[in-house]
Every structure is written in C-alpha cells, then in structure tokens.
Subunit: 242 residues, 2 copies
C-alpha cells in the first residue's frame, strides 16, 4: 500500500473492463436461458450454452483483427455466434423478436454485488469509465438498466481496435485528455491488464473467482505483476483511499 | 402535441447541445472572471470578455474545417483564444497554473435551473447523451461537477467533425445503434438543429432567452420549423410524456 500511494495519487481516471469484471455475465445468461426455456419448453444445459456463447467471442474478434471480417459491434458478433448455437442446440420456433431479445440479454447483465456500491465510492476520487470491447450502445443500455454511475462510456469501438490492442487503451487516455500513466485499467483478466500495461497504463487486478462458475482455480496475482490486487470494488476503493 | 405523439414514441435517444442549451456559459464565465479579478485586482468588463471568448470559437472551428488548423479539442481552441484575450485585456502576472485553471472554467459551467431536474425526468423515457463540440473530457468533468445524469458522453470529437457537419450527428446515431430518425437533437440554436435535421435526426428547440444576456430578441420558432419547441427541459419532458 505505502509503496503504491504515489500511484493512487497520480492516477486521475479508472477505466473498467466490463464482462466478468463489472457484471456476472455467466449467471445472467444462464438465467436468461432458463427464462426462455420456461416459455418455450427447451431442455438445454444453460451453463454450457453460456460458456459456448462467450467462448465464441474471442475467435470472432480475431477474425476482425485479421481482416477476415470487417469491424463489427459486439452485438453483431454475439448474434453471429447465437445464430449458430440456436441450430446446434435445436432451439426451434424462435421468432425474430425472441432472437433479438435474447441477443440483447448482454445489455441486461447483472452487476456483481459490490459493483454499484464500489463504483459510487471510487467515483468520489476518480473519473470512472467503462473500457470494454462491448459497443457503446450495449454499455449505455447496461449502465442505465443496472444503475451504474459511470462518468463516461468508453469502448474499444471508439478506436476501431479490440483490447488488448494498444490503440484501444491509448484512445481512452486521449479522450480523457490524460497521459497513459494517469489512467488505471481495472480488470479481472491478466491479459487485458498486460495489454493496458504495454500501452503505459496502470493496472488493478480484481479477483472474480466465480466468473466461469464455482470450483475453478483462482489466480491471486502472486508475483505482484499488477499495481493493485483487490477482492472487490469496495476493497479497491479502500486501498485507493476513495 | 397530438400530431407529434408518434415522433415522441419513435425517438429512443435525445442528444443535447451543451453550451447555452444545458449550461449558462455566459454567467458562469463572468463569475469566474470576477473571482479572478477579486484575487488579482484586474478591472475588466467580464460580460464583454465572456462574449469575446465565446465568439472566438466559431472562427477557430472554421480554421479547423478549412484545414488551416489541425483537429483540435475545444479545450485547446479555448486556450488559443484566451491567450490572445489575456494580452488584449492586459491581464498581467497570471501564472501558468492560473491560466490553466481559468481555461478550465469551461469544465465548471453551471446548468440552467431546470437542467438537472429535467434531465432526470427525460432519462426515465429516453437514453440521454451530450452531443457537443466540446471534447469528451470537458463534458465528462462538467457532468461530474454539476451532477448531470447523462447515460453517455458523446461529442463531435468522436467523429473528427464539428457540428453542424453531418458526420457529427451521424456518428452519434451510429454509436447509439439507432437510425437517425430515432434520435432527437435538443438545442437552443437553430443552426445546430438544422444541421441535425439535414442528417435525418428529429429536433427539439429549447428557448434560452438569457444565453447572451438579458434584453435580447427571442426566437420562438414561429414557423414550426422544429418537431418540438419548449421553454425548459421540464417543459420538454412534459410534452414528450416523460
């Protein structure tokens, strides 16, 4: 802590990864699937379905990176993956409206229990923004739906490059009129934080042991790779003096 | 009203001009000048100074439009104009810190009395965002300072084109994942609204008779040129059923 106090004071803005860091996408998608099944009578392992939907997202982004696909909003990537899963899981008889609504489940993801309270505390000391691969409209709708008190909605969409490409982080710092070292990336994913660090940002690792379901191994940042490690946004606020 | 009810229902997001529409820039700058004078002993007509600072902004933007200047954040345009005015008005002995702070007066502008209450009402029915020529960080700091409940901070900066160029409005609609006709521009300036209409957006004219000081002629949109005309954000909320 003491060693880090100058970091905490030099930082002016916190940029947050969203899926997994701010919201519990897995439990939210499972619940949306169960709701759909309650109406339509499907018999599906929704935990597996949620994991498959999420795991299609990295390869789809890579197709954009390599130019195989044009730039796409995450909404459209989610829909492309969903359209395949609907066939694979035999979700027959879904109307166009039901498909659109199910795809927008990602706009309604539930925050972790400490998210809103922690953001409200962090907001008293820092500018707090999203910095997600999710598109601006998805993040805006999610914040409105769940009462997240962001000061601004930033997204990889504004740079035309997905994280962890450096352009995504550098565009955020530029839009905030800050030097990269005045911005701290907050994420539950080491790969995202390493991308941020390569671009010159500070890093805070928030441990979300349940992101991929219970019983998974937990990476507690034992090597001190990141500037801060916290168990929740409230813990992070405490460590930062907010 | 009745004729407009389908407009109100088809619109999903309201994008707001900020300087003059959301905040009383003139009274705010006058007060900041008076505060500065109280500390430094300057004898200046601050109303005239505020008007001069503001009126330098259109020509400066046009120099960017014509390529005479590169793309600039409004913070930098404000500073360029301020540096000239400081010499012209003989504001001697200002430190670098005092100059920086005075230029950031535009981050601290006060809302009109109906602004925050009106935005909170409009937010219950619509996505509400800024759409200003002001840069993202200026708008973010202003909202944080004054408690403005924006769902997202959008700016001409995100398109690299100042309003009333069509790119500024179309980029906002694209980031909101909406068709232009699902977005309504709210502004106190007919020129801004005409630019929005040319890009396909809906328009709401909010009359701000005091923007340039008392005793000025008021344009009440007598020809019904815009979809809505309102006396305040609360009046607009009432007309839109929010």
């Amino acid at each position: 802590m003491a060693a880090n106090s100058s970091v905490a004071d030099n930082v002016k803005a916190l940029t947050f990864d969203v899926f997994g860091t701010v919201v519990d996408w897995r439990a939210s998608i499972i619940r949306e699937g169960q709701l759909l099944a309650a109406n339509k009578g499907y018999d599906v392992d929704w935990a597996e379905f949620a994991d498959r939907w999420r795991s299609g997202y990295g390869p789809a982004m890579n197709k954009v990176r390599t130019g195989e696909l044009p730039w796409m909003k995450i909404d459209d990537l989610h829909r492309m993956i969903l359209d395949d899963l609907v066939i694979e899981y035999g979700l027959e008889g879904m109307t166009a409206k039901e498909l659109d609504d199910f795809n927008r489940a990602w706009h309604r993801l539930s925050p972790w229990p400490d998210t809103v309270a922690g953001l409200n505390r962090l907001k008293t000391k820092y500018v707090i923004t999203t910095l997600s691969n999710g598109n601006v409209s998805l993040l805006t709708n999610m914040a409105k739906n769940a009462g997240m008190p962001w000061d601004a909605i930033l997204s990889a969409e504004l740079s035309g490059h997905y994280k962890p490409d450096p352009e995504a982080y550098l565009k955020a710092a530029d839009l905030l009129s800050l030097a990269p070292e005045q911005v701290m990336m907050v994420a539950a994913h080491p790969g995202d934080l390493r991308g941020a660090a390569r671009a010159g940002l500070r890093t805070a690792y928030v441990i979300r042991p349940l992101e991929r379901g219970p019983g998974r191994p937990v990476n507690r940042n034992p090597d001190g790779e990141f500037d801060y490690t916290a168990d929740s946004f409230l813990d992070l606020a405490k460590q930062l003096g907010a």
